[in-house]
């Protein structure tokens, strides 16, 4: 190893800054603390590449950069903030339960019934509709009754050969984040008010079980111990 290849260790030493005309490369993007490399996204884009006028379903919050990222590549993007919808649904249900008359048991529903009711008005898309689904920070937070039903619905709306990109935490996350695509291999984490309690940490085997009908493609583990999993229909 050549000693000249060693990085400069003195933090106070002056560093060369790129000129204004230089384009910010991936390393410049990485300098932002909330931006992380997403190998899963890179692989996801490779998988859906070639599907002209492909349809993407983003199950997170909508962001301008994410929308434009896919639009500029010729995709049609559908967004549905599932976490927020779920939270609002639960809030509404709790409100109606609170307004129930004492002793009126007819309106009481189980968690499974709640999940079914939620999906009656959410994730309503035609079969085999999407070429790809983005689900960052979602499945970790969903109710145990809701999760398998959502996976079933996702399998239905995904085209054969379509891909799902999902992320799973390896430890309890300190905060709830939203995800914004910066470029083809970088995503920005946007700290947000927590919409739901992080339900559990899935082991790799459990993740495979959740995606029972899907074919496993690849899994990436980031420095932040977040696992990105790609599954194909």
């Amino acid at each position: 190893m050549s000693w000249t290849a060693k990085p400069r260790l003195n933090p106070t030493a002056p560093t060369l800054k790129p000129t204004g005309s230089a384009k910010p490369g991936p390393k410049a993007v990485e300098a932002n603390g909330n931006v992380r490399i997403s190998n899963g996204l890179k692989e996801f884009l490779w998988l859906i590449d070639g599907s002209s006028q492909g349809r993407i379903l983003d199950l997170g919050a909508v962001f301008q950069t994410t929308v434009m990222f896919f639009i500029e590549r010729g995709f049609r993007l559908s967004t549905e903030d599932m976490m927020r919808s779920w939270k609002e649904f639960l809030t509404t249900e709790e409100e109606s339960m609170r307004n129930m008359k004492v002793g009126d048991e007819s309106a009481r529903v189980s968690q499974g019934m709640l999940a079914g009711k939620f999906l009656d008005s959410n994730l309503q898309y035609p079969e085999d509709n999407f070429h790809g689904v983005l689900a960052w920070d979602l499945f970790d937070y969903l109710d145990a009754e809701l999760l398998p039903r959502v996976m079933e619905r996702l399998y239905t709306v995904l085209r054969p050969g379509g891909a799902v990109l999902a992320s799973f935490h390896s430890k309890t996350p300190e905060r709830f984040n939203r995800y914004k695509i910066v470029d083809g291999q970088n995503i920005e984490l946007i700290p947000s008010p927590s919409l739901a309690v992080h339900s559990r940490i899935f082991q790799n085997r459990e993740i495979l079980d959740i995606f029972g009908k899907f074919r496993s493609s690849k899994t990436f583990v980031g420095r932040d111990q977040v696992r990105e999993a790609l599954f194909l229909k």
Binding site: A61, V62, Q64, V67, I71, R76, S78, T79, D81, R84
Partner: protein
């Protein structure tokens, strides 16, 4: 301002320049027993006076469209930042005569109609005026050459078709714009968005698909607009009260009926 009439040109002297002077003697102002205004010689449009700093209160502003409230009930100004902001009386540059006052051309010359808070309209709204929705609208909104703004407390359950659509409130229905769509930070949209350009601010909620179309694809030509949708006067508007009738005329008969119904039972 009302004193300025006709084509005679008057000169408005900045207050700051008066203050810098010494108080004039009374003899300067009186002549033949009448009070006369001293001719402000230094306030003519000459290069020296044009270099004076302009007082902040008299900064020239473009004359903008003023909202016209359809129900005319709430006298409170609309909280929309762009087209519906009540315009103060047009001020004039202190060093420019009225005849040559720069009446800046606004991006859109027709007026903006407002569905005020507390008003609920059902039916089809057509025309080429701008529209600000602070209340509720159900049905269909189709403004060929207009801009639709859904205010923060506005609720729309309708497909909207316009040149430009700006959403700050809640919309359940498709948005189809021939120019651009803007979703504000507190906006909620459930429906598809078809537009050549889109601006989504962080915090916006969109449940539906986004599809890019070519510019001008959404709105058909103005000539094809239905006859019932009488266009609002395209003359530059300087007073909100003047456009009240024409804005009401832009509503279709169906919506007029709905308006009357809503006015009768505005409890909801």
């Amino acid at each position: 301002m009302a004193a300025f009439v006709g084509a005679r040109s008057y000169t408005i002297v900045p207050v700051a320049s008066w203050e810098r002077r010494t108080p004039p003697r009374t003899s300067d102002y009186t002549s033949w027993g009448k009070i006369m205004w001293r001719k402000p010689t230094d306030a003519k449009t000459n290069p020296q006076t044009s270099n004076l700093p302009e007082p902040a209160a008299t900064t020239p502003k473009p004359i903008q469209n003023t909202p016209t409230n359809v129900n005319a009930a709430p006298a409170t100004p609309a909280p929309i930042a762009q087209s519906s902001t009540p315009t103060p009386a047009p001020s004039v540059s202190p060093n420019v005569t009225m005849a040559s006052a720069p009446i800046t051309s606004t991006p859109r010359t027709n007026s903006a109609s407002v569905i005020g808070a507390g008003l609920k309209i059902q039916g089809e709204i057509t025309g080429d005026s701008d529209l600000v929705i602070e209340g509720e609208a159900h049905g269909r909104i189709r403004l060929v050459n207009g801009r639709v703004t859904v205010a923060p407390k506005g609720r729309v359950n309708a497909d909207i078709e316009a040149v430009e659509i700006s959403v700050e409130g809640f919309v359940q229905g498709g948005l189809k714009a021939s120019d651009k769509v803007r979703l504000g930070p507190a906006s909620q949209v459930q429906g598809s968005v078809m537009t050549p350009r889109i601006a989504i601010e962080d915090g916006a909620r969109l449940r539906g698909k986004v599809e890019m179309i070519r510019a001008g694809e959404a709105a058909p030509p103005a000539a094809k607009a239905p006859a019932a949708s009488a266009p609002v006067s395209a003359a530059p508007v300087t007073s909100g009260a003047k456009v009240a009738d024409s804005a009401t005329a832009a509503m279709t008969t169906e919506t007029d009926r709905a308006k009357a119904t809503a006015a009768r039972g505005s409890g909801d």
